[in-house]
Symmetry: C2
Subunit: 363 residues, 2 copies
């Protein structure tokens, strides 16, 4: 292998893929990136066996070839080099990286040792705008579980319902659902949330169409010169729609900013009680107040002006309230529930595409 | 105690002092701040028994009094409140904190339980500009030791020499010395570096004179409305001046930016060898090059244009080089040494007030 690339392109490619490389597994080669020439371009790949990312860059290739080299060292090294042309030259498994002022040799291993994700054959293909998907992921990922004991809940449920594309996530304590767009292709995918975190990072500010291709086992997201492939989670996603209340006995409409502030202040006094705070709605005063008690440290009541439909109270985890409010767009939010033991819903009164459900704590 | 303060002033006072409060010690009251009225002002204090910080704020006092309350909770709480007037009212040891929308009670303990640092009586007093001191501390603190086995080296040596005020620090592997100003008052203080880190934080952007008062055991730094008192370290500081070479057989003058870059890149290949890199000076080529070898991963040579007096080489810890270069001001640096086993010096050719010495590694 002998070629020239620019420092900017190589550094960008390495930063796209290297995060997936891992030195924690049992397979040492997974801490490496695979660098190889293909179709007059250079491809850089990394995988942790669940997720694989490949980034293609333009390069001036004199000799074809490939090698795997340590991901972290190579990324740190290339990102430290001055911008300009870099010469890469492979001698057996030693990769020589040369610029005007830097001469470096990185010891690699043969490219054949690198595990390759199986190709997606005969899959369905559809497109979605990258910023639309990014936005939806930012509003739902927080609700996915990280508990591997119930693998289904560690996934993001991307599916169509009545010819609309939805993304949903739930850890059984809370649920977030976003309707993205109308879509004719029927889809039902359960994608690991960790893979979607990586996709979110890859999207960044890129505004383009993402090509999604999937079969029964895997899904690929293709974003310009970058491809992310991830395995799908096996299992039946819970029928979450029946859990979402349609109407509310108790409802408050208030400034999101006020709601965030009074929850944050109350949460300081809820550290002893695992975040438990009690929300009280007072119709006549037009006030939502949040009360928290720390038996040792003290107690707090914080209140905000709100439009209330009926007096009521419910006890929730303050962290879940703050997470939910961070996901809702718009300046005004509606908070509704039907009783102390029923799920409550936080949503934007001016945008019905998104809702966030929180299960109450017993008080 | 009954009084009014502004949220801005109380929050600033708490953020000045609360970092010193600690919940790790055996004395639970040290996790608290002492709030008490004195001379028509409110004073907020915290101490870890080595360092004490007190901040005074203006307040409208209706009833005198004092109490100690949890530092972290109070700081987090007050900083979350909206700006404006806060009412404080003490009922036994319960402090009621009230604003228009927030009502809070924080459980405290009686003020008498709070340990007070002894007063400094009959001490020497002198003044130094806060930004001058801040600058000097930023250039020297990095060289102080954190190893309690040799307490003297965990100190910053503030002293006069030939009617000039110096600050020096060394961990025996490296040494930083800064001349601040001419000064007639004779001074010899060994101040814990951790206390000077706190002082640095308190100074921030404040440009004023700091009043320094000290006796044999303690030193106080008074900065506007804030006072920091710390114990002094007992012991004789090493006679470091005799270790500093006055002339150099091998010397390189180069861009600091280049020197930082080639050291950083080389350090990536020096992780296996505890940061060990070898600097080579080549007079004829006018090049300083740095070489590092990682037996497993690979090797690197990085070079920069430099004005060289004689060919030579020395092996150093790359982290110490980067630390030193971060301390030197100016765009050009001089790097000089007299042999593989002799200390090297990094300094600014245009400013003789500061120098940084690094001991070599055996290569």
């Amino acid at each position: 292998m002998k070629l020239q690339v620019t420092q900017e392109n190589l550094s960008k490619a390495l930063s796209s893929v290297a995060r997936v490389a891992t030195s924690r597994g049992t397979l040492p080669v997974l801490a490496n990136v695979l660098i190889k020439t293909a179709d007059n371009r250079l491809s850089i790949s990394a995988t942790n066996l669940d997720i694989a990312i490949t980034h293609h860059i333009g390069s001036k290739i004199s000799e074809e070839g490939g090698v795997t080299i340590p991901a972290r060292l190579t990324q740190d090294f290339v990102s430290s080099l001055p911008s300009g042309v870099i010469d890469l030259f492979l001698e057996e498994t030693k990769l020589h990286i040369t610029t005007e002022k830097y001469e470096s040799t990185i010891n690699g291993t043969v490219a054949d040792e690198f595990p390759v994700m199986p190709a997606i054959a005969d899959g369905k293909t559809w497109e979605v705008n990258s910023q639309l998907l990014k936005n939806a992921l930012q509003q739902t990922l927080i609700a996915a579980s990280s508990d591997e004991a119930r693998p289904v809940l560690t996934g993001i449920y991307i599916h169509t319902h009545n010819q609309k594309l939805y993304i949903a996530a739930t850890d059984s304590y809370r649920l977030a659902e976003k309707m993205l767009t109308t879509q004719k292709t029927d889809v039902e995918l359960l994608v690991p949330a960790v893979a979607m975190q990586e996709l979110l990072r890859l999207i960044g500010d890129t505004d383009t169409n993402i090509l999604v291709t999937h079969d029964e086992q895997q899904v690929q997201f293709k974003l310009n010169d970058t491809e992310l492939v991830t395995r799908l989670i096996d299992g039946k996603y819970p029928d979450y729609r029946k859990l979402i209340p349609k109407a509310f006995e108790f409802q408050a409409t208030l400034s999101k900013h006020d709601f965030v502030n009074i929850t944050k202040v109350s949460s300081l006094f809820a550290r002893e009680s695992a975040g438990s705070v009690t929300i009280n709605l007072n119709k006549d005063d037009g006030v939502m107040s949040i009360r928290s008690v720390a038996s040792q440290l003290g107690e707090n009541t914080a209140s905000a002006t709100a439009e209330i439909t009926a007096d009521g109270s419910i006890t929730l985890n303050s962290r879940y309230i703050i997470d939910a409010l961070n996901c809702v767009q718009g300046q005004t939010v509606v908070f509704g529930f039907n009783g102390k033991l029923e799920p409550c819903v936080i949503s934007d009164p001016n945008n019905k595409d998104y809702l966030h459900v929180i299960m109450p704590l017993k008080s």
